[in-house]
């Protein structure tokens, strides 16, 4: 048995070395280039076994293994794209972290029967990003204090958030907890911040989440306007207005967008009042 174990560890060490060599070549390859694509494909092919073995650990989730592998594959792609050799983490460690994360995320999405508030989702994204950055930097998960520092939260606030996140996100795959707590709720405002705080964290995150959603919608519309749109004449005809009116509405909207994008951060603007809009015509 000991012989098998040591052969296995030699194989793993060799695999790791080959990964690092390929990753070093990848980081030096111009982007985009055929060489880069080819190296990425080789690294992915070499590590697909890692995805399969991690996916197999989640077989009890009830999801088809192929789907779990597919989700894990996304984690592997992200690992290849974002891995930084200069940091002190082995590729396999980093990739395992991301593959597991993607599979868990996939399972949660598939099973979720509760509405996760937008601000919790936003906070989750930030926590996940901070965890990944820390993991890349130090090769191990952050402590509560380290994660709190990265997110500018104190330990108590972060602990409350993580409790809420766990309740919301792990309920679906943790059958035992689901049975005992079928309807978990996010942490309350009082749990997260002292009452004296002028801007409670959950209020901030909810407003930030609303801004993010609006910005995403804005981007979607602008892309549509430039890349997929109907003609102004067609739209004018449909709405019973002239092509010139449609054109003016579009121009004004884009001006408004430009103003928004060029506007300073409100924290720099002090008490400045928003400007009054011009009337729009139809």
């Amino acid at each position: 048995m000991r012989g098998e174990g040591s052969a296995q560890s030699r194989r793993t060490a060799r695999q790791e070395l080959e990964n690092e060599t390929l990753l070093a070549r990848l980081s030096a390859a111009p982007s985009p280039s055929k060489q880069r694509s080819s190296l990425e494909e080789r690294i992915i092919a070499r590590n697909i076994g890692l995805v399969k073995s991690i996916a197999a650990r989640f077989a009890s989730s009830g999801e088809p293994l192929d789907d779990l592998i597919q989700a894990g594959y996304i984690g592997l792609l992200n690992a290849v794209a974002n891995y930084d050799l200069a940091r002190n983490t082995r590729f396999s460690t980093y990739a395992t972290h991301l593959i597991q994360g993607e599979i868990r995320h996939y399972i949660r999405d598939r099973h979720s029967t509760i509405r996760v508030p937008q601000w919790v989702q936003t906070m989750n994204r930030r926590i996940k990003l901070a965890e990944e950055n820390f993991f890349q930097e130090h090769g191990q998960p952050p402590t509560l204090r380290e994660l709190g520092q990265a997110l500018e939260l104190n330990e108590a606030q972060l602990a409350a958030l993580l409790r809420g996140r766990d309740a919301m996100t792990y309920v679906s795959i943790d059958k035992e907890r689901r049975t005992s707590d079928p309807n978990p709720s996010p942490p309350s405002l009082e749990e997260i911040l002292p009452e004296s705080q002028a801007l409670p964290l959950d209020t901030r995150m909810r407003i930030v989440a609303a801004i993010e959603q609006l910005a995403a919608m804005q981007q979607h519309i602008v892309q549509g306007l430039f890349y997929q749109g109907k003609s102004q004449s067609e739209v004018g005809e449909e709405l019973g207005i002239s092509q010139r009116q449609v054109s003016r509405i579009k121009d004004r909207a884009l001006d408004e967008l430009r103003n928004t994008l060029l506007s300073l951060d409100p924290s720099d603007r002090g008490q400045e009042e928003p400007k009054e809009p011009e009337g729009t015509e139809n």
Partner: protein
């Protein structure tokens, strides 16, 4: 933020984002009443826009499914309503 009945979606979004940022600023200044007023303005502007969404030329120019926009704005409006309600309930 003046919420005219004929504002287009991009203008609505631009102004709503600005109002939401101002709201955060007012909260940070501990001026909760002003902060909530900014949020209320956004909610009212979304309501006003939703009433005339089907007539917004930008949606046809884009073209973005109106149902998708309606759902997105309704969700945002609901979230902001919850914030307002939570702070109203917590008011002394």
């Amino acid at each position: 933020m003046k919420h005219t009945a004929d504002v287009d979606l991009l203008s609505l979004i631009g102004r709503a984002i600005e109002e939401l940022r101002l709201s955060i600023g007012r909260f940070e200044d501990a001026d909760r009443e002003a902060a909530l007023a900014h949020l209320g303005t956004v909610v009212a502007a979304i309501d006003s826009y939703l009433e005339r969404l089907d007539r917004d030329p930008l949606l046809r120019l884009a073209p973005i499914p109106p149902s998708e926009v309606r759902d997105g704005l309704t969700r945002i409006r609901g979230d902001l309503d919850e914030v307002i309600a939570a702070h109203d309930a917590a008011a002394p």
